[in-house]
């Protein structure tokens, strides 16, 4: 835990600050993300109560940025958690059982890896219509695979360690060995990969939203904001620069942080 909160590491603080802003801002701003100010369509920055101005139909840009960041991070964290739970369960089972079970389980993972993921998500959207739930399912479908592979490798390495054999000789049941000896010792590595999964999911979610396949209007996300900004960039470049810059900053900081943790734990 001490490794997670390194006080001298600025990217962590940037991420935490962005999360805090995304949570607090909607509560204190006079405008909500879907509220239209008919008196100020395409208002420039610092006009009245609109700090970053308004978009082409008069919604407050700052409020939409905060709401978009919130949705994007929520999707990212939720999908990463799903990938963590499924990946650890799958990978730990395969690694611990070994042999034929392991072969079968890991070939299944390989098969899923081979599927054209983007194509399947688009098909799902077309068939079932756009919903935030489908975004979860689509992203969750791929993100747990890497986690499962990492966890399996770690478990297989740990399985050979004498303290696991000693626990077996001590009569500790298998399930307890996995829960008390194996999993706590891979927690660090799993945490590091969790941190690396978050920016990946942010990326995928923004990409889907940019294509118009992700979150639905009037709900917004960073991907949608970038798309809207891009459509209108010759009139108001701020509309593209703000969400785009925010997305880049978020991705860079999360990735640096994840790589740092990975280096700490492996």
């Amino acid at each position: 835990m001490r490794a997670l909160f390194n006080r001298n590491h600025w990217p962590l603080w940037v991420v935490l600050a962005l999360v805090a802003l995304a949570l607090i801002l909607p509560a204190i701003l006079p405008w909500t993300y879907d509220q239209i100010d008919w008196d100020a369509v395409r208002a420039p920055a610092f006009s009245g109560s609109h700090v970053f101005g308004t978009d082409e139909i008069g919604r407050d840009r700052l409020a939409r940025l905060a709401a978009g960041t919130r949705v994007t991070l929520m999707v990212a964290v939720a999908a990463a958690m799903v990938s963590l739970v499924v990946g650890i369960a799958w990978g730990a089972t395969a690694g611990w059982m070994g042999g034929k079970v392991d072969e079968a389980m890991m070939r299944f993972v390989d098969a899923l890896y081979a599927l054209p993921f983007m194509f399947i998500v688009i098909l799902l959207m077309v068939i079932f219509g756009r919903s935030i739930l489908l975004v979860f399912v689509g992203i969750g479908l791929v993100e747990w695979l890497t986690m499962a592979r990492v966890v399996r490798g770690q478990v297989m390495a740990l399985k050979q360690r004498p303290f696991i054999l000693a626990a077996e000789a001590a009569g500790t049941p298998s399930i307890k060995i996995v829960l008390k000896h194996v999993l706590p010792n891979i927690a660090g590595v799993a945490l590091a990969y969790l941190m690396l999964t978050v920016p990946q999911v942010v990326m995928i979610e923004s990409f889907l939203s940019f294509l118009g396949l992700g979150v639905q209007e009037p709900l917004t996300s960073l991907g949608i904001l970038v798309k809207e900004g891009a459509d209108d960039m010759d009139m108001t470049p701020l509309g593209l620069l703000l969400p785009g810059g925010l997305l880049v900053l978020l991705l860079i900081c999360l990735t640096i942080e994840g790589e740092r943790l990975r280096d700490v734990y492996s």
Partner: protein
């Protein structure tokens, strides 16, 4: 006239003085050995003058007239490339994996000058270090060679440019026991033949005593004692040296008085263990083949053999923590099933202790929890105060105080960790311990203390012991009988004294030779 002379050397890393007041002299054709426990600064002492560690050396270090302490880059290069050869501990990592043996040797010789050697000359170099089929080997990559062969190549490369000084940093400690004697004999022969001055580093006093002229004993960055090897071994002056010599098991020491043995407890018959080949390949690897073994109450039996002989696999099958393909393991008259089918009552009988003490403790647990784990499972009827009494008793048995209960396992030294592992093994009151190289990863002093502890426990608890090792000398301190394994087969079996006096199998002879060193 000495080749290499160190006077009043001190070594600093990041402003910390790690080594002080070192004086070493090495003469041509002679060998000076440095011994000491890990962390005593012996490797720093021999590598730092050549700029091979992060430290800086001060004082006077003369190599054939060059002052290394104040040498500029060109002189240092000359000293390293022309006058010195190095042999390191790990023969696997010391050779460059993508170069063939021939290219490695060519690179080593070209240090001394621009001339390229012909193929015959290179092959001759390999023959000089005792490698057969030398011509063929020139085209092989390091991974095709065994550990002993690689170390021979390392030695060939180290002396390829005809250096004046050879520095060997634990050249045999990563090798199989039966190979150690051969490599040391090779170094001795080359030293005499070429008049090489040799600086030998080791943590093991017994492995250098017959191969060195002068001995330097180091402890905590200081030279404790130095002088001719024979004088120090026969008449050590300092307390540390005395303890070190006493702790090192030798075949020449008088046989210990061993406890009386009772009836047969454990009988393993025709034990065979097969492992599937990795991946999708067909066939099986036979790790243990039809090995039989019996242990009586209070008796200690040594299973010895080189690496890959199947001794650990046999021990694990007996302890119920490894696979058993066929054969029977009986406890008195009762059959012990394989691995996961063993009941808790059966688990209570046999407990293991492993080679690497640090890896055998869960790094996230406290000592108290680690030692109590078997008790919680195997004697669930005990109340919590009873458990704590047993914990205190077990720690006391292995010579650790109650203050260790709340220590995290990663904060323990190797010797302390091994004591904790032994406490965990004995807390539930087992009848037999399976010790898998329990002392070989430890420094001689610490290992000697653990052997002593095991001998005491053997008496106090009437424990039967299976002592798996490659070192017959340390097995002799504890064991009544000996079983020698080679490639999974039992090749010799008998009373310890008889086998040591009169070994029959060639593997046994090699292992005894290695223990004499």
């Amino acid at each position: 006239m000495s080749v290499y002379e160190i006077r009043d050397m001190a070594i600093q890393i990041d402003g910390k003085r790690l080594v002080e007041d070192v004086n070493i002299t090495v003469e041509p054709g002679k060998c000076t050995a440095i011994i000491g426990a890990s962390g005593s600064g012996k490797s720093l002492t021999c590598l730092t003058p050549f700029g091979l560690t992060p430290g800086t050396a001060s004082g006077s270090i003369k190599l054939d007239g060059i002052e290394l302490a104040s040498a500029n880059a060109r002189e240092m290069h000359l000293a390293r490339s022309r006058y010195t050869g190095f042999v390191f501990q790990q023969p696997l990592t010391a050779l460059t994996p993508h170069l063939t043996i021939g290219k490695q040797l060519q690179e080593a010789t070209s240090q001394a000058g621009p001339q390229r050697l012909s193929r015959q000359e290179l092959a001759l170099m390999l023959e000089r270090v005792g490698l057969s089929r030398a011509d063929e080997r020139l085209d092989q990559f390091p991974h095709r060679l065994s550990g002993g062969e690689r170390q021979r190549v390392m030695i060939a490369a180290a002396i390829a440019h005809q250096p004046k000084l050879l520095i060997a940093d634990e050249p045999t400690s990563a090798l199989d026991a039966s190979l150690r004697g051969e490599i040391m004999a090779l170094l001795d022969g080359l030293r005499v033949e070429h008049g090489l001055a040799t600086l030998l580093v080791s943590h093991d006093i017994a492995s250098v005593e017959n191969h060195s002229d002068d001995l330097i004993v180091m402890d905590q960055g200081r030279v404790i004692e130095s002088g001719p090897t024979v004088d120090i071994i026969t008449n050590p002056q300092r307390d540390y040296t005395k303890r070190l010599i006493a702790a090192t098991p030798r075949l020449t020491e008088p046989a210990p008085v061993l406890p009386v043995v009772g009836d047969i407890l454990m009988e393993a018959e025709d034990t065979t263990v097969l492992f599937p080949r990795p991946g999708w390949r067909q066939g099986k690897i036979e790790a243990v083949a039809d090995a039989s073994l019996s242990v009586r109450e209070g008796e200690a039996v040594a299973i010895v053999g080189g690496s890959g002989s199947g001794k650990s696999t046999l021990g694990r099958a007996v302890a119920g923590i490894g696979p058993l393909t066929s054969g029977t393991i009986k406890w008195q008259a009762e059959l012990l099933p394989e691995r996961r089918e063993r009941s808790l009552a059966m688990r209570k009988l046999i407990q293991p202790v492993f080679q690497d003490p640090v890896a055998s403790l869960n790094p996230r647990w406290k000592v108290g929890d680690i030692v109590l784990e078997p008790l919680r499972n195997l004697s669930p009827e005990l109340s919590s105060p009873e458990r704590n009494n047993k914990l205190a008793q077990a720690l006391d048995d292995v010579g650790l105080g109650p203050e260790y209960i709340d220590r995290v396992s990663t904060s323990l030294s190797g010797g302390q960790a091994q004591r904790v592992a032994i406490a965990r093994a004995i807390i539930a009151g087992p009848k037999m311990l399976v010790l898998d190289e329990a002392t070989s990863a430890l420094d001689p002093l610490v290992g000697g203390a653990i052997l002593q502890l095991l001998a005491e426990l053997q008496r106090a608890h009437r424990l039967s012991i299976i002592f798996i090792t490659h070192d017959i000398a340390s097995a002799r301190r504890l064991c009544h009988r000996i079983v020698v394994l080679d490639a999974g087969h039992v090749v010799e079996m008998g009373a310890m004294a008889e086998v040591v006096e009169n070994p029959k199998a060639s593997v046994t002879k090699l292992l005894i030779e290695a223990s004499k060193r």
